[in-house]
Symmetry: C2
């Protein structure tokens, strides 16, 4: 007799164990009462506060490794934790505990002529896979939102922040344990092996949706490889269109805020469109204000003719998310041309019109095909918190399932509960 | 100088043209008023009625080809059209015209402390790809629902019904034209080449969602190959659980109806679970009634001991969608075992409990993880029409985006319209 030789990839086996444990935890979480989930969130916050030294020690190991690799200072800042930041993370979990619980909410109910009572009730999605990069706070933010919405999650943090994420995950699991919920409700992939991501993206039985958080290359890789549905935010190529009927003061305030308040956020404006009829009157001031604020302005010929500090824009500029103090500026022939430019070059994320003309504004709000469209307000309001939705896990630029800010409610599905008295179908 | 030789796959080019035309049509449809869309639906119904001879002639060509291939009689029936069926298709389009228009509906609106007014407004998804098999009526049903919900669609019908689908598509396009809407709003892939499906599934720029309608092998192929999100209905392994506190009369009526009213629909029950405490009292009558009604009963040992006409069930039976006059029957130890069986072996489609005990019923409604859960009603109510949602394109067994019956409302997304007065973000 010859022995049968089993060759199982150990990483594959480890990932399958995570998956099975998450699926089992999800079944418990789906039925957990609100108070128990909130207790877990608050206990996790308490654990974060009481373990600040361990967390900072773990973070110091990540930072030392990053220094050794010669990591850029800007990335170091994203990675770094201190007591204030840990307190912010803990407070964030308490804020999530204070949010309304979406699960069990009756979204609609009606009765049929045959007496059947139908209710559409919110339920969790199941198991959510979250793949992110260097910010260790995502471990708690994403884990907390999933927990609130009754979903188990499998977190795959960046290798840069692996030690920090592990320390934070331990706090989340301590919170779950204290509340009597399965610790496998929030799991961190326990390896920095990049192959783990590839395996995750094929775990169709045990992961219901994948949410990537990070730069474009990460998101593109996930979207291309995943066999599991992905809720993604690809680009934030956001526009401000200054219409012929714009109030110049509002235009100036909104353009400056949309571009310069924070240049690295997805809701930052990347392109300014100005109606030709007011270009002579308003563009010089707008361009001057942007340059004064430290912004590089890349313009078409008309814009360059107005100010010699404007750099020439190339066609690629209209499709570029700078995430930096750079703006592309183009003169367009009215609202229709503005809408056409935005729908062609934008990323369906967030776009704003400045105008005092209500009819033009409504055209913009209806015709621009983006998740968030604003009238006389800064694109930097693109944020679940600013929308009053509480915490968010990101902003979806897709149209399926969730569009715009993805908060606890967007991490849910629904079921139909039908109550009868013996009805059969004729 | 040497000439540059371009080699473009003609089918690829043809599919790209369909895609571009659909995308352009979708932009128009998204903004089309309700009256115009309804006019197109009614004009399409009129075209179907006035072109009955052409449609039946096209259908006769499909039928002749099917006969020549030696197609089974059951498939021939699905393929066959007659005057009554064409009238049914036309009437179906008028019913869709009578449905409320989901597009533009304000799903929620609220005001922020800073004065921003936020509205969540329904918008179409964009372009929907529908891949179906031999039933030619899907051409009109699916095309009509997409049109109502402001979506362009690319239809890929089965090669069996190609001529019939083409004749019906011509009527849909005549309706669109009569209403002044782009004919490319509803397009049929103009070839029976199977490679066209493979190309469709990669058209991520021009198709937003794929809906397969047909047998399991089609749906599995689409799910495995598609680079585009899929809304799918995989299986309908539906259960009836007869609880200890069931009313015997309701149990008998519901079990018979759920299994035997129509055995080929996805909401037909495939497995009967009976609580052990009432098995002796109620199972013999239930089994006898099923057998009398012409149903093959496959049972576990306890069931077989009660009636010698029961065939032994194998483990595979618990995971089988018969779509036929066959039922598997199992005795379970109470509600928890019933829920566990359903969540393990079911397909998260539709499951029913028969009981007079409200607490047990609520446990079932909350713990069974299916799109539709019923109390004292037949699983055959799993249908958008029976839910009062009007026509449906299918029943989704997934949790993302749409779950349960997929009607016009489920073919939509939303956008946030934010109206301000110059707000900038602090």
């Amino acid at each position: 007799m010859t022995a049968v030789k089993h060759t199982v990839d150990p990483l594959q086996g480890e990932m399958q164990q995570l998956g099975s444990a998450a699926r089992a935890a999800a079944a418990v979480l789906a039925l957990a009462p609100t108070t128990q989930k909130n207790e877990a969130l608050r206990a996790a916050a308490a654990a974060l506060r009481s373990r600040v030294p361990e967390i900072l020690a773990a973070n110091a190991r990540d930072l030392a490794a990053a220094v050794a690799r010669g990591t850029a200072a800007s990335l170091m800042d994203r990675l770094k934790l201190d007591e204030t930041r840990v307190e912010g993370i803990a407070k964030g979990l308490e804020d999530v505990a204070d949010l309304p619980d979406p699960i069990g909410a009756v979204m609609a109910e009606w009765e049929r002529p045959n007496g059947l009572k139908i209710a559409r009730v919110r339920v969790p999605l199941g198991v959510i896979g979250i793949i992110y990069e260097s910010r260790p706070n995502v471990t708690a933010d994403a884990g907390g939102l999933c927990l609130k919405s009754g979903n188990a999650c499998i977190l795959r943090g960046g290798s840069d922040s692996f030690e920090s994420s592990r320390a934070i995950t331990a706090c989340m699991q301590a919170g779950l344990k204290a509340a009597g919920l399965p610790e496998a409700s929030i799991q961190l992939v326990p390896t920095t092996d990049r192959a783990a991501v590839g395996i995750m993206l094929t775990m169709t039985d045990d992961i219901d949706v994948i949410i990537p958080r990070g730069g474009k290359s990460l998101i593109q890789r996930v979207a291309a490889e995943s066999r599991i549905p992905v809720i993604k935010h690809l680009d934030g190529i956001c526009h401000v269109y200054v219409d012929a009927a714009a109030d110049p003061r509002k235009a100036r305030d909104i353009v400056l805020n949309a571009k310069m308040r924070r240049t690295s956020v997805c809701g930052a404006a990347e392109t300014l469109l100005v109606d030709r009829s007011i270009a002579q009157a308003q563009l010089p001031g707008l361009v001057e204000a942007l340059i004064e604020a430290g912004c590089e302005v890349r313009g078409d010929q008309t814009v360059r003719a107005l100010n010699d500090r404007v750099v020439p824009a190339t066609p690629a500029d209209w499709d570029t998310e700078y995430l930096d103090a750079i703006i592309s500026v183009r003169v367009v022939d009215g609202i229709d041309a503005a809408v056409e430019h935005i729908n062609r070059h934008g990323s369906h994320h967030t776009d704003s019109i400045v105008t005092e003309d209500a009819a033009t504004a409504e055209t913009f709000l209806n015709h621009v095909d983006s998740g968030i469209v604003l009238w006389n307000a800064s694109t930097q309001f693109a944020d679940g918190g600013e929308f009053g939705m509480g915490a968010e896990i990101g902003i979806s630029t897709g149209k399926l399932h969730a569009r715009g800010p993805v908060g606890a409610e967007q991490l849910t599905s629904y079921k139909y509960q039908v109550r009868g008295s013996g009805q059969i179908r004729p």
